[in-house]
Symmetry: C2
């Protein structure tokens, strides 16, 4: 009976801990078949430096609390393993740590880069003779993993952006007569426009709101954009622009990279929202306000999608179940069974089909003019934000869990990463 290693990787989300909860609770249910779940402190770095957390020291209540706690309870990292050929010492170290702590299962919870790391670890058996079962648990607010219909983490950020865009657009509608006419909100998604697309959900049949979306998939056309904002403000009196941080100009450069210097000569560390707002002001002379949601959007567990929480938990649970069946180098994926009513199930994808591939918005999800979403896209997105899953509150604030994170006694020498 082997122990399991679990770690969180890359940018965290509102529901990555729900996946951790699924992994740990499911492992605890199979006590005869799987030992302790040892978590990497700060992702794979915890494995390399033998900085392991003994999750068996946490109460059932604390682990259950992970389901409603955002961010990464064990710490995450941005660290990509090179190939076994390029950096054999790291893999030898991993095997050394796995051996020392009797680890036979490797669960890695992350996005595209993490799927690649997990794939490399899954090959330790064949390439270096160490028997390990490596399963990737999908997570990314960017929703850019292939094979899976959607990624845990995305539904909640999509809900946050849709709700916030609806609220702020009602705000600007109130102010437009004598004050702000254009509101700009910058959202995440450097390469794929899924999160930006969610902004368009703010407007629907029940509440028609003027929302213009700028996708990273569509090269920014200054004249066309200004004409669109101008026409929208003339029609509605106001307008909201949802802009992806990854929007690029026709020259392929990020719009946020304007070569601006501050008073001290440092590069201006701006987002794209102030650039868009500045354009609206200078070219159309319209009063604006702008917001940059940044971490607020991906940490917003208080307005998480119930569907997303359920899927995050389910993929964590399925990871353990499939590992116990001996499947290596796989990832539980979400399969959409039907749209209305929305039904989904977990299927098992091969990791080689997932790693190092990005899924962008298909062109037929973006409206012909490039500033909105199609009905097809709306049908895809809408189910993912369904349901509310509020955390418990105490004293007016969500009661998020902080684990004890007791370290496992080290048995090996130091290793520098």
């Amino acid at each position: 009976m082997k122990n399991a290693f679990y770690a969180q990787s890359g940018g965290v989300t509102a529901v990555i801990n729900a996946s951790a909860c699924g992994v740990i609770e499911t492992a605890r249910k199979h006590k005869g078949k799987i030992g302790k779940v040892l978590a990497g402190r700060n992702g794979i770095i915890g494995a390399l430096t033998e900085d392991l957390i003994d999750t068996s020291k946490e109460s059932a209540k604390a682990i259950a609390g992970l389901r409603h706690t955002p961010a990464g309870a064990f710490g995450s990292c941005r660290y990509k393993l090179k190939s076994i050929e390029e950096h054999k010492a790291q893999y030898e170290r991993l095997i050394e740590v796995f051996k020392a702590h009797d680890i036979g299962y490797f669960f890695y919870n992350g996005g595209g880069d993490s799927a690649d790391t997990c794939l490399k670890v899954s090959r330790l058996s064949e390439q270096m003779g160490y028997p390990i079962i490596a399963v990737h648990v999908p997570k990314t607010v960017d929703n850019d993993l292939p094979v899976t219909d959607n990624c845990p983490g995305f539904g909640s950020v999509a809900k946050y952006i849709a709700v916030s865009t609806r609220e702020a657009t009602l705000d600007v509608a109130s102010m437009a007569k004598t004050s702000t006419k254009v509101f700009v909100i910058e959202v995440m998604g450097r390469h794929a426009g899924w999160i930006a697309a969610a902004g368009a959900l703010a407007s629907d049949k029940d509440l028609d709101l003027p929302v213009v979306v700028l996708f990273p998939e569509i090269a920014f056309d200054r004249a066309k954009f200004l004409a669109r904002v101008d026409a929208t403000v003339k029609k509605f009196g106001y307008c909201t622009v949802v802009v992806s941080e990854g929007v690029k100009g026709p020259d392929g450069r990020f719009l946020s990279d304007q070569g601006v210097r501050d008073a001290f000569g440092h590069a201006q560390l701006g987002g794209v929202a102030p650039v868009i707002a500045g354009l609206v002001k200078s070219e159309l002379n319209l009063k604006y306000h702008w917001a940059v949601a940044d971490y607020l959007q991906r940490a917003a567990r208080h307005v998480a999608s119930k569907t997303d929480v359920a899927q995050a938990y389910a993929t964590g649970k399925a990871a353990v179940e499939v590992a116990l069946k001996g499947r290596n180098s796989v990832m539980p994926a979400i399969k959409r069974v039907s749209n209305r009513p929305y039904k989904w199930k977990v299927e098992i994808a091969e990791l080689k089909d997932v790693a190092n591939k990005e899924k962008f918005m298909p062109r037929n999800f973006i409206s012909a003019d490039g500033f909105g979403i199609t009905e097809k896209c709306r049908q895809y997105l809408t189910p993912l934000i369904q349901g509310e899953d509020y955390p418990p509150y105490k004293n007016g604030l969500p009661q998020y869990v902080r684990l004890k994170n007791v370290g496992v006694k080290k048995k090996l020498g130091e290793f520098k990463v």
Copy 2:
């Protein structure tokens, strides 16, 4: 039996419509004593231009829905009346409109500037012989009105900032090992630091988080701030900075006003968050992320404070009740009866004591070092964010009400504002 005029003024909030709901529902309960509630389209401008909305055309369900709908359902405006001496024509026009529509009650829902406008209107009886009862309904996210213990609108933005700061700080805690170490969030409050103070609530006895607050009441001391961030990151590994948009340097200039120009030579329309983030990067070489909450914070009805919603409704209700008792030139104010348990009631304040005064954070609410709040401040703030009051959801989104806003037939000639 006279009709009533109601209007919304200044920046809107998550709960100003709850006050409108209180006004209209209460007026409807006193049908024999008060006529229709006619709302100004876009605030006082609607009165001047005779652009009135007949709220009697709205169903009871739609009016009830205002209680959970953010922003200003009738439109707001930023428009301050001059004195009667300076701009007599405007007051004559107001009287003309009031006469034409048989208006005997004037309810004005706003902040400090609006209290001033309401005070001027309340003097129409004595100064121009038109009998009117003018009552101000308090509203401001800035919480800077005097006399009242707190302002409807503030509790909800405080809750939003406290919750968001808690969530984003857990996020940066997860990332700090290999990535972001300092998260900066910019909040509203150009003169008073009440909203910034709410960021400090993110950390409490249950969840100790490193939060550094920059108040507009405390002149920014660059060296002291950097030393504080440096020490905090050394101790915790990460840090969140909550910065008020109104923070000024020792020279009295807004920190956000760095004289920065963009690539086209336009003034950079930046917030203060990127300035603070830039400082952290250039002087401490720490990786940062920053967010600007802007309208998202004051429109965030999805995470409103139940206490705030109740107080917004109660002040609207009390405004009508006190008007029916013949009291002119007053404002329903919140009186704190006790802290533990928190009890409050509505009292009636004289408008002359409210108008044109701002309430700043008392120095004993700010910690000695200037970067946090005192226990006294925490005791003041905590009750105001108590309770959740979720809007109904449909299709994954809050079902916010949009009124029909049927115009009243005009009887007078045009008037330019």
